[in-house]
C-alpha cells in the first residue's frame, strides 16, 4: 500500500517538476546564456569578451540613474509604508473600534485597482492644470501651478506617494492576520504589569510579528526593485529619466526601438542578484534562532 502511494507521489511530483524545469528554469538558464550574447535577436553572437554586457552597465548612465532611483524609492518608500501599515493594523485590530470592517476595506481597497489604472489616475491628478494644482490654487496655498511631473524632486515624491497609497493596505492585511494570531492573554499580562500602549507595541507586538515583518520586507524589497508600472505610466521615466526604474530601463532596452535582448537579459540578472542579496541580508538579520 505504502509503496503504491509512493509511486503515485513520485508520478505527480515528476510532472510538476518537469513543468517547472521547462517553463521556469530552462528560460532562466537561456536568459543567462543570452546575457553573454549580443546583436539582433534573430542572429545573436557571443559578446567579446563574453561578459561584455555586464561591463557595459558601468558605462550606462541611464542604468546607473535607474539604479539610484530604484534604491531611492526603496529606502524611502518601504520603511514609511511598513511603519504605516503596522500602525494601521494595530489601530484596526482594536476590538472596541466601531466599523472596523469598513475601515479595513477602505484601506485595502487600493490594492484592488490595477497598477496601470491607478498610475494613470495619479498622472491625471498631477497634471500642470490637474486637480491637485486646481485645489491648491483655489485654497490659495499656491499662486502658480506646480509642475509636479516636470521636476525631478516632485515627480519622485508623486511616485513615492502613489506607491504608499497603493501598497500600505496590502501589507496591513498581513499584519492584521499576524496580530489576530497573537494570544490576547499576553497583552492582559502586560497591562497588569503596568506596560503602556507604546511599550506593549514595541516589546510584545513587534517581536511576535517578526516573521510577518520579515516577509513583508522581503516582498516589498522585491516588489520595489521590480517597479515598472508606475515609472512607465505615471512619469514615463521623466523628467529627463530621473524617475526611471531598472525594470523600465530593461523593458526599453529589450522592446523599445532597436531590441537589445542580450544586454536586457544581463540587466535582469543584476536585478535578480540584487534581490537575492537583499533578501539574504534580511533573513540573516531577522533570524534570531541561535
Amino acid at each position: 500500500m505504502e509503496k503504491k502511494t509512493n509511486r503515485w507521489g513520485w508520478a505527480f511530483l515528476i510532472v510538476a517538476s518537469a513543468m517547472i524545469m521547462i517553463f521556469s528554469f530552462y528560460p532562466m538558464f537561456s536568459a543567462l546564456i543570452m546575457s553573454f550574447k549580443t546583436g539582433s535577436s534573430a542572429n545573436m553572437k557571443w559578446a567579446t569578451p563574453w561578459y561584455n554586457n555586464y561591463l557595459r552597465m558601468f558605462k550606462d548612465k541611464t542604468f546607473i540613474m535607474a539604479l539610484k532611483n530604484t534604491f531611492l524609492y526603496l529606502i524611502i518608500q518601504v520603511p514609511v509604508m511598513l511603519v504605516l501599515a503596522i500602525l494601521l493594523a494595530q489601530l484596526l485590530n482594536n476590538p472596541n473600534l466601531k466599523c472596523r470592517g469598513l475601515f479595513r476595506t477602505c484601506i485595502f481597497l487600493p490594492c484592488a485597482i490595477s497598477l496601470v489604472s491607478y498610475s494613470l489616475i495619479f498622472r491625471t491628478l498631477f497634471y500642470d492644470t490637474g486637480m491637485i494644482n486646481t485645489i491648491l490654487m483655489k485654497l490659495g496655498i499656491i499662486h502658480e501651478n506646480i509642475k509636479w511631473l516636470g521636476q525631478t524632486g516632485t515627480a519622485r515624491a508623486v511616485i513615492i506617494t502613489a506607491l504608499i497609497w497603493r501598497w500600505t493596505g496590502y501589507n496591513m492585511v498581513f499584519y492584521l492576520a499576524g496580530l489576530q494570531n497573537l494570544d490576547y492573554q499576553v497583552y492582559e499580562a502586560a497591562q497588569i504589569d503596568g506596560a503602556n500602549g507604546w511599550k506593549t507595541f514595541w516589546h510584545i507586538t513587534v517581536p511576535q510579528l517578526r516573521p510577518v515583518i520579515i516577509m513583508t520586507f522581503i516582498m516589498s524589497i522585491n516588489g520595489t526593485l521590480q517597479l515598472y508600472d508606475e515609472s512607465v505610466n505615471l512619469t514615463n521615466g521623466g523628467p529627463a529619466g530621473t524617475t526611471m526604474t531598472m525594470s523600465h530601463h530593461i523593458y526599453n532596452t529589450a522592446f523599445q526601438g532597436k531590441a537589445n535582448f542580450g544586454y536586457a537579459a544581463a540587466l535582469s540578472f543584476v536585478v535578480f542578484i540584487l534581490v537575492a542579496i537583499l533578501a539574504a541580508i534580511n533573513l540573516k538579520v531577522g533570524d534570531t534562532r541561535d
Partner: protein, 427 residues
C-alpha cells in the same frame, strides 16, 4: 466521480492544446490578413481599400486584426524574427516608418519586397518612400502622409493683431517675438508638445533640410543649426509660449483640447485631436513651419506608416495586386483614399490621388481652407534627410537634454552628454 472529473480535465487540456497548435489564419486564396492599430485612423483606410478592391475581386476579403498600438506589431515581428518562425504573422502588416529599416535589417525573413508590383513610385513623395526603400528595393506601400503642419487659432492671432500670413515663412526668432506678444495679450501659448516624446527638434531640423545624424552617427555637438533650434525651444519654454507637456495625454487633453495653446505643430494626424473641440470650428488655419533664417517656408514630416508584406504571406501575388490597386495609386486609389480621408482622416501621399474633388473641398473647421490638398502639396516639398534606426533613442536623450537645459544646465555639456548616450546605445 473523481475519475470522471480527471477524465474531463484531461480531455479539456488535450483540446486546448490542439486548439493552440492550429494555424491562426484561414487560407482560402481570396483572403488576406492584416495587422493595424487605430480604429479611428488606419483601420477605416484599410476597410476603404477592401471595398475598392472588391469591385474587381468580388470574393476578396481583408481580415483586419486590430492591435492595441503600433508597438504590438513591432513586438509580433520581433517575436517571429527571433524565433525564426514566421507562421504566426499575418499576410500584411502596417508598420511605423521610423522602425522599418532596422527591422528589415535585423529580421530579413519576416519581410517580402514589393518588387514587381504594379506601382508607379514617382507618384509618391520622395521623403515618404525613403523610409520604406531598403538598398533600392521597395518594401512598403505608403498609407498615410506624415507631413507636418503648423495650425494656428486665427481668432487668437487676430486678437493680438496678427494674421496667418504673418506666421508664414517667418524666422523662429520672429516667431518667439510674436508668441510673447500673443501670450501677453491673450494668455495663450503658441505651441505645445508632448515632451516625453519630443518631436520638435526633429521636425524643426527637417524644415531646415538638415539632420541630427551625420554618416550614421549622432551629430548634436558642434551642429550649429541644431544648437540654435534647441535654444529656440528652451527660450519658448522659459517664456511660457511653448508648453512642454509631460505625457501624450496631457499634450492632447490639456494643452490642445483644453484650449491652452493657439498653435499646434505636428504631423497632420494631429488634426482629429484639434477638431475634438467643436466650439473652435472655423477658428483654425494651417500653414508651414518657420525656419531659423526665414526667407523660405519650412516643410517637415513626422510619423506615418506603410503596409508591408510579411514573410508568412503565401499569396504574394494577390497581396501585391491588392496594394498596387488601392494604396499604390492604381485604379482603386482615388476611391480608397477618398474614403480613407472621409472615414479616418487619413491623408494620402499619392500625388495623383490627392487631386480628387474630396481633397479640394474647403473644410469648415479650418475656416473653409482646403487643408487636405494643401497638405498633399506640402508633402511634395519635404526634404529627404539622413535617418537612423536610433531615431527614437535620439529623441529621448535630446528631450532629456532640453529638460536639463531649461532647469539651468549648460547647453554644450548637455548636448555632449546626449550624444554620448546615443553613441553608447548604438555601440
Amino acid at each position: 466521480m473523481k475519475k470522471l472529473f480527471a477524465l474531463l480535465l484531461t480531455v479539456a487540456m488535450v483540446f486546448s492544446l490542439m486548439a493552440m497548435s492550429g494555424s491562426a489564419f484561414a487560407d482560402d486564396g481570396n483572403t488576406l490578413t492584416v495587422y493595424a492599430w487605430d480604429a479611428n485612423f488606419n483601420i477605416p483606410a484599410l476597410k476603404a481599400a477592401e471595398a475598392a478592391f472588391q469591385k474587381v475581386h468580388p470574393d476578396f476579403k481583408l481580415d483586419i486584426a486590430t492591435q492595441s498600438g503600433s508597438s504590438d506589431v513591432e513586438q509580433a515581428m520581433t517575436l517571429a524574427g527571433s524565433s525564426g518562425d514566421v507562421s504566426s504573422l499575418p499576410d500584411i502588416v502596417l508598420f511605423q516608418d521610423h522602425f522599418i529599416q532596422s527591422y528589415v535589417a535585423d529580421y530579413p525573413d519576416c519581410w517580402q519586397s514589393l518588387e514587381g508590383a504594379d506601382i508607379n513610385w514617382d507618384d509618391f513623395g520622395a521623403e515618404k518612400l525613403s523610409y520604406s526603400t531598403i538598398d533600392g528595393v521597395h518594401y512598403g506601400a505608403p498609407v498615410d502622409n506624415g507631413t507636418a503642419i503648423f495650425a494656428y487659432r486665427t481668432d487668437v492671432l487676430e486678437q493680438a493683431g496678427y494674421t496667418i500670413a504673418d506666421m508664414t515663412g517667418i524666422t523662429w526668432d520672429r516667431w518667439l517675438e510674436i508668441a510673447r506678444d500673443v501670450k501677453a495679450k491673450t494668455g495663450f501659448a503658441l505651441l505645445s508638445m508632448d515632451h516625453s516624446g519630443d518631436d520638435l527638434p526633429y521636425m524643426m531640423m527637417q524644415a531646415e533640410g538638415l539632420s541630427q545624424w551625420k554618416d550614421g552617427k549622432p551629430n548634436f555637438v558642434g551642429n550649429e543649426p541644431f544648437q540654435r533650434i534647441i535654444e529656440v525651444i528652451v527660450q519658448g519654454a522659459k517664456d511660457g509660449t511653448i508648453l512642454l507637456a509631460n505625457s501624450w495625454s496631457e499634450y492632447c487633453d490639456q494643452t490642445i483640447v483644453g484650449n491652452q495653446t493657439a498653435g499646434v505643430m505636428n504631423g497632420n494626424w494631429i488634426i482629429p485631436t484639434i477638431r475634438q473641440v467643436a466650439d473652435n470650428s472655423g477658428k483654425w488655419a494651417i500653414t508651414t513651419l518657420p525656419t531659423l533664417d526665414g526667407g523660405k517656408e519650412g516643410y517637415a514630416a513626422n510619423g506615418g506608416s506603410s503596409l508591408y508584406i510579411t514573410g508568412n504571406c503565401k499569396n504574394v501575388d494577390l497581396a501585391k495586386e491588392f496594394l498596387a490597386y488601392t494604396f499604390g495609386g492604381g485604379e482603386g486609389a482615388m476611391e480608397t483614399y477618398d474614403n480613407a480621408l472621409r472615414d479616418g482622416g487619413v491623408i494620402t501621399c499619392c500625388i495623383s490621388a490627392g487631386q480628387s474633388d474630396v481633397y479640394k473641398e474647403g473644410i469648415e473647421y479650418f475656416g473653409g481652407q482646403a487643408i487636405y490638398s494643401d497638405i498633399v502639396g506640402m508633402g511634395a516639398h519635404v526634404p529627404v534627410i539622413e535617418q537612423n534606426d536610433y531615431h527614437y533613442t535620439a529623441r529621448t536623450y535630446i528631450g532629456n537634454a532640453i529638460t536639463n537645459i531649461i532647469n539651468g544646465a549648460d547647453l554644450t555639456t548637455e548636448l555632449q552628454s546626449a550624444q554620448d548616450q546615443v553613441e553608447f546605445e548604438m555601440g
